[in-house]
Subunit: 474 residues, 2 copies
């Protein structure tokens, strides 16, 4: 068990970090004590904002000695409350946001070293200035930080081609729970010196120590991209389309997002300056993007694929973006779904994966199961069909008090969704992680062998339990 | 500390496994108690050969209760003594070789589930019958098993394009140190439920439990391949060639092996039915392979690249294999280097990696450092230049008693090599692992933070220390 920080510990931390790095001011801390979705509200004895890895290490040594809990936080845009302290007021918020240097950009080696607090969008811009691209993006790119992205093994919309954060992270620097600094930034292509700590810290949600920097893989700026907005009958047809496109031009296929008509409707209703790409509404949409070197080749390939699909009746309608800004507009529709859904009112969000083949069946069957158990409940599935990963939102029946319905039925609804996912061999968290939100349900329904192994890793690496206690695994 | 197995434990294991699965016969055990290179000789109280995952789990439960050590073993062709028991006679050899079923081959999904004891070459053939290919191979393919390959995160000659075993392993089944079965075979593209156990078991060398099966990624059989044997002046030139070829036709580049003339000489001397591909000897050779879909395209691309390189004076001579059997012949030369080197007499072998850019400097500088400290010592570097990974062998001076020289200077020579590697930010084990051979040197010279973390993982997952004690981390 961790302890309440003593006055002398807080003094020592204040002296170490100075006024820029140490705060107990309630107003200054407030924005960082509630998670992005407004679901979790915590308290903290202080907010620590170190500027260097050495300061992080000094903080951890002090807290390890005093057995005081640290809650690492990046952009505070996580989806599962993983960066929100508990309500005791005894935990210390460890903000990495001041560690925002891009330490190195190696053009020839196509890699960069970025500190944990670098905001994703800033990182995109920094490497773009060197003619390079970091091929991971997501709706929260204006706030999400490199450290948070590594620690949650973030996905996003380009996983199909480039993989998730794990695949793009070539090395990490981290401060371990005893305060020692692990320097694993060297981007070695092969290294078989035992358990892979890089992979262990990817997705560990700050429970094993804190990532302070990462070496990241870059790719050349795609000289050309082509984005299409496609109207389609069903997820089955979308999967058939995906397989066709993948077989023919899979190397260029960078995005394949599935969007139901009601998600688009919500975006058009709530997000200013958005418009529907197609004049006639369709039951489902696919946002498809190709990226490659040659513009004409790419355009021809895409047009040919889509013409064939239209002729075959596999798709109903399509528009190809004629400019970068039109392409951005399509992506803005996709990236605004979460915000629009929040504006619609409370909903239960499930970020789940199943084997790709089984995704259409899940999307079709789950609403039926829900409707039997919870009449009127409305399910929406959107997202990364090619990764076998959808965001599956369940909205309360129309006309009921949403918050009340969720309070009454939320846990049972989620249990129904997750049980269905497990039946199909899937995961109850495809990309958002476990955090606070799914900790108990995972402990309840996941495999005992897996849970035992997770607990063993946690106990072995953080024996005092000072890193992000209460998250991920209890 | 683990204990000596009692007579009643041995009885229980014998009853569990029957005569096919349990042996205390010295002759039957003998071949499995010495490692492939003949460097480590162990003893075992019994050899256990379970046929199913349930039998493995039952063995582990019995041994966990009795606190008796288990040493998992696949094909016994590892390079670091990782599968050889200690000399106490108290450990139990856990052979996975009877678990040799390919459980499933999914043509549409391009994946297969293979048990730990499936021999790599048999697995190649099994999937080939379905028109698919498992794109990892190495010299020991006739003995190496899937479980051993996963547990050592094996590399081989196609890592450049397809990655090492880690990249090809989509899921694992393992028995944990408490005897529970972790079923992580489902090939989910995204799964963020905490610490990644699949990556943790890849390269864990049987110290955290035992891998009993794996889901493996397959690729279509390459319709075409083109193999070239190239004479070249230096590793610097080889790196320039690699960069050119990679930029132009990197997607098809599957192999790029660097071979010094004296390695080829040794192969020609010791391995029957081998011949030099080029009529005039060259200082260095590159074995280059492209694989792709269209034969003519591939051939043209390769010829064009090599013609340009010849014109530019970047390469000295080249022959392109005109048939599959000629291509196999080139690979046989490469794959026979280890065997030929063994026939040459004792040598110190170092499997090291450095950042790719620094590899030519390492290959040039290390022999000079060695010659100053150990006059007459001869260094040979060969292997996977594109991965920043060479096998760096040091032979005793000509005319001295090799075994005696190694006994006297071996540890110091290796320390010089490894220190040089660490200076360059490299790894003292690129692909072979740590096992017994590098355990002490790693503990001596590697980063304390990394060692602490490895010890934490081991203690957390195998608190009784029954899995492969004495290997990897002490």
């Amino acid at each position: 068990m961790t302890r309440q920080p003593s006055a002398s510990l807080l003094d020592a931390l204040g002296n170490l970090l100075g006024p820029k790095g140490f705060s107990v001011d309630a107003d200054a801390m407030a924005p960082w004590l509630t998670d992005w979705r407004g679901k979790y509200h915590g308290r903290a004895a202080a907010m620590l904002s170190p500027a260097t890895t050495d300061e992080v290490a000094a903080i951890v040594r002090l807290c390890a000695e005093a057995q005081v809990a640290l809650v690492p936080q990046g952009g505070n845009s996580g989806m599962v409350g993983g960066a929100t302290p508990d309500t005791s007021g005894d935990q210390l918020l460890l903000s990495l946001r001041r560690m925002n240097r891009v330490r190195q950009i190696d053009e020839a080696g196509q890699l960069a070293v970025a500190e944990a607090g670098v905001i994703l969008e800033n990182f995109h811009n920094a490497v773009l200035a060197h003619g390079l691209r970091f091929p991971l993006t997501l709706g929260g790119k204006g706030s999400a930080t490199i450290g948070g992205l590594v620690s949650t093994n973030a996905g996003g919309t380009q996983v199909l081609r480039h993989g998730s954060m794990r695949a793009l992270t070539l090395g990490i620097e981290a401060v371990l729970p005893d305060g020692s600094i692990f320097d694993g930034l060297a981007p070695l292509k092969k290294d078989n010196r035992g358990y892979d700590l890089r992979h262990l810290f990817c997705g560990a949600e700050g429970t094993l120590g804190v990532v302070t920097a990462a070496s990241l893989h870059l790719v050349p700026v795609a000289a050309a991209r082509r984005t299409a907005w496609i109207g389609i009958d069903s997820p089955e047809d979308a999967l058939l389309l995906l397989r066709r496109v993948d077989a023919a031009i899979g190397r260029e296929l960078e995005g394949f997002e599935l969007i139901p008509h009601n998600c688009l409707d919500a975006v058009l209703r709530h997000i200013p300056q958005t418009r529907a790409p197609l004049s006639v509404a369709q039951p489902w949409y696919v946002l498809l993007e190709l990226a490659g070197e040659s513009d004409p080749t790419l355009g021809e390939a895409l047009e040919q694929q889509l013409a064939t699909a239209l002729d075959a009746g596999l798709i109903r309608d399509v528009v190809i973006a004629k400019s970068d800004s039109e392409s951005e507009g399509f992506w803005r529709l996709r990236d605004s779904i979460s915000e629009a859904e929040r504006a619609e009112g409370p909903a239960l969000q499930h970020d789940v994966s199943v084997p790709v083949d089984l995704m259409p069946a899940f999307i079709a069957d789950n609403p039926r199961r829900l409707d039997i158990a919870f009449p009127g409940a409305r399910a929406l599935s959107f997202g990364h069909l090619g990764d076998g990963n959808v965001h599956h939102h369940v909205q309360p029946p129309i006309g009921v008090d949403g918050a009340g319905w969720i309070a009454e039925h939320g846990a049972s609804v989620s249990r129904l969704v997750y049980s269905h996912v497990l039946e199909l061999g899937g995961s109850i968290s495809a990309e958002h992680g476990i955090g606070q939100m799914k900790r108990d349900i995972m402990a309840e329904i996941d495999s005992p062998a897996r849970l035992t192994a997770l607990r063993g890793v946690k106990a072995g690496l953080d024996p005092k339990g000072i890193f992000n206690p209460g998250k991920l695994i209890a």
